[in-house]
């Protein structure tokens, strides 16, 4: 263990920490399970902070650079706290062919200052409903740029 590594600021009583510890224990603190544990950590904390990554590196006996290298390789991992709402615009082929490009442009414009984290997906698997956007888990099928912009720009609260 590295004595000079930054200390963790998460209180020991934190329930999430216990859950994470348990997840790591379930995988016998094996480095092979890194991606699984990153998933768990992100679910618990919303994103992967540096102290969190450092903690996992120590517990799983992995070099920190390896942990960050793996985490940043995959697009689903976040390193910043997510905003209040999240929207995914699908850019799969079918959606693209149905005008997802314009959809994304409209969404980007209205999401830039709002409370929405806007990401793009490569096919959410609902090609029959193209173009599709998913706002806070709710799919908007055959959505028009204006409607999506209204959702992202408005005081949508759900």
């Amino acid at each position: 263990m590295n004595p000079t590594a930054p200390d963790l600021n998460i209180p020991a009583s934190d329930e999430r920490e216990k859950l994470l510890e348990r997840a790591m224990a379930r995988h016998h603190n094996s480095g092979d399970a890194l991606i699984e544990i990153l998933h768990t950590a992100q679910q618990l904390y919303g994103y992967l902070s540096r102290p969190l990554l450092s903690k996992m590196a120590r517990r799983l006996n992995l070099p920190p650079s390896h942990v960050l290298g793996v985490a940043t390789f995959y697009h689903l991992f976040r390193f910043e706290p997510p905003k209040k709402h999240s929207a995914i615009v699908c850019l799969g082929t079918a959606c693209y062919a149905s005008g997802a490009g314009q959809l994304l442009a409209a969404a980007q414009q209205s999401a830039s200052e709002g409370e929405w984290t806007l990401t793009t997906g490569r096919c959410v698997g609902s090609c029959g409903l193209a173009p599709i956007a998913i706002c806070d888990g709710i799919p908007l099928a055959r959505v028009k740029p204006g409607d999506l912009a209204a959702v992202l720009g408005g005081k949508h609260d759900g």
């Binding site: 480095g31 092979d32 890194l34 390789f73 995959y74 090609c127 409903l129 998913i134 799919p139």
Partner: protein, 544 residues
């Protein structure tokens, strides 16, 4: 579970079902759920309750029935009727089988969309609830695993799969039997079976629908494979972007383990087989088998040089059998009906059926399962209903970012592995996107190139930097800034990527460009020499 237990379980469920007056199965995979399927199902359940018919009418979920563009779909066992575009308000009419008020949204089995298909892998769709193992068992599920563990030797299983001439459904079409044999013959004591469920092609959702709709079929196929090659551990590597599929697999594994169909001493044999789920985290390249293995090992999903191939040295250096979802889903029926039966379906060189995810400018978009070798015309114009009025067919894109475009003159080409390769595209995992004359083919190539650029793992230079430059050139062309010299550079870079890339992603990345250059060269010329987009839909076309 014992053989008797399986039989009893099956009979009990069949008996229960036979006493029902009607089973109303609501499509409960991503496509229909996105269209409001959950609310429909809730409304139906409410309606049944309100009518006091809970004892005789069951409302359940089921796998993908195919016609996603007209979802949510609901299927009624009474009269074998499928209702399309069902809204919660239709609940009463559906429960009462009030056909008049559902007029125009009634699909019978004779509808060309259903009649033209041969559903083997998707056989349970509309019948089995993916969240309940009993339904799968009732349809004869796990019988093949029973056979494989109690009546067949591993060698016999491999022989049967070889006899079936099943080819891997992941895209390359490598004969599954040969792969199984390689792993089976390896003397290593530790071996693994991996199910590649990292279906990442944009526009492809076959595997996902199979996992969401009939997960046990895949588990059974994997277990049979484990028995055949001598592995005791299997992994399903699923896309992190498909939460529903992940949930369904998890449930299914739990159920199978609880029933003793997975785990130690399956059917009281000496066969032990566990399956664990591994979840990807958003990396297309992990569909490549060595990258997938790296990812399961907790590493960056970067491909490593082959050989050695996974059957020799795969997961943690042990012999590993990797097949994709659809391949494994084929296994139970091959064991059940025999390899010869399977070999008799579809094209002689590539037998069986194939699921295509048909989307884009087409009337009936969704999942279509047909015998391999069915012509594109049949799939698109008979089953798919053709392009909607006012549009004209231009090309179909197969094989995702690694594939190519099929122009109208090849509509009669049989959809099998070798024929598609012959016209410069590939079967791929089964995505089939229909484009009409308003699609700019240069922009289509650019779209796929951008995809490959974003998804390149960055390990080898040709793919990492070559995709950037190809994207740059295609971007230039679609903005009206293309140069004559760009053609030569595109070709040179394509050649480099095809020949020098480390893995399949890089080698296949130029395919959409090469294929569109081959079939739609005049469109490129118009962009570069005349500074116009004939389809009028790329960046240049839009601004003009």
């Amino acid at each position: 579970m014992t053989a008797d237990g399986l039989r009893q379980s099956r009979e009990a469920e069949l008996d229960r079902q036979s006493r029902l007056k009607n089973r109303i199965a609501c499509c409960s995979v991503a496509g229909c759920l996105a269209g409001g399927g959950d609310a429909v199902r809730a409304a139906l359940a409410e309606e049944v309750k309100a009518q006091g018919a809970s004892a005789e009418i069951e409302v359940c979920g089921t796998g993908c029935m195919g016609l996603c563009s007209r979802g949510p779909l609901v299927r009624s066992s009474a009269g074998e009727i499928t209702y399309a575009e069902v809204k919660p308000g239709d609940a009463a009419a559906v429960v009462r089988s009030d056909l008049d008020s559902l007029n125009g949204r009634i699909l019978r089995q004779s509808d060309p969309f259903f009649a033209g298909q041969r559903r083997l892998i998707l056989a349970n769709s509309g019948k089995v609830d993916p969240e309940k193992i009993a339904g799968y068992i009732a349809q004869g599920g796990y019988q093949s695993l029973l056979r494989a563990t109690s009546e067949m030797t591993p060698e016999e299983i491999v022989a049967e799969v070889k006899k079936s001439k099943l080819r891997g459904r992941g895209g390359a079409g490598y004969p599954a039997g040969l792969k199984w044999e390689l792993v089976a013959r390896h003397p290593s004591a530790t071996k693994y079976v991996i199910c590649n469920a990292d279906e990442g092609d944009p526009g492809a959702f076959m595997n996902r629908s199979v996992l969401e709709g009939d997960p046990h079929r895949v588990l059974e196929g994997m277990a049979i494979a484990g028995r055949a090659v001598g592995a005791q551990q299997g992994y399903i590597y699923a896309r992190g972007e498909s939460p529903l599929a992940i949930e369904r697999i998890r449930t299914a594994i739990d159920q199978a383990q609880r029933e003793g169909l997975l785990g130690g001493r399956v059917f009281d044999s000496d066969f032990h087989f566990r399956i664990d789920l591994r979840i990807g985290a958003g990396a297309y390249v992990c569909g490549e088998e060595t990258a997938l293995i790296a990812s399961i090992e907790g590493k960056r999903g970067q491909p490593v040089l082959r050989p050695p191939y996974p059957p020799e040295s795969g997961l943690w250096g042990h012999p590993t059998l990797i097949n994709n979802v659809e391949t494994f889903a084929n296994i139970p029926q091959i064991i059940e009906n025999g390899g010869d039966w399977f070999a008799g379906i579809g094209a002689p060189a590539s037998p069986g059926t194939k699921i295509f995810a048909v989307a884009g400018r087409i009337r009936n978009s969704g999942l279509v399962e047909v015998p391999i070798g069915t012509s594109l015309r049949t799939i698109l114009f008979e089953i798919g209903g053709g392009v909607p009025e006012g549009y004209e067919f231009k090309a179909a894109q197969t094989g995702g970012p690694a594939g190519g475009c099929i122009p109208a003159q090849y509509l009669d080409v049989p959809m099998d592995y070798d024929s598609l390769t012959g016209i410069g595209t590939m079967m791929g995992s089964g995505g089939l996107i229909v484009m009409d004359t308003s699609s700019c083919m240069v922009d289509v190539a650019r779209f796929f190139m951008e995809f490959c650029m974003d998804e390149s793992c960055g390990k080898c230079i040709p793919c990492r930097a070559g995709t950037v430059q190809m994207n740059e050139i295609l971007g230039r062309m679609t903005s009206g800034e293309g140069k004559e010299a760009d053609f030569a550079m595109l070709e040179a870079l394509s050649g480099l990527l095809v020949e020098a890339s480390l893995c399949g992603l890089g080698r296949a990345a130029p395919n959409p460009v090469l294929s569109t250059l081959r079939h739609f060269r005049s469109e490129y010329d118009a962009h570069v020499r005349e500074r116009r987009c004939p389809a009028g839909s790329c960046r240049m076309g839009a601004s003009a």
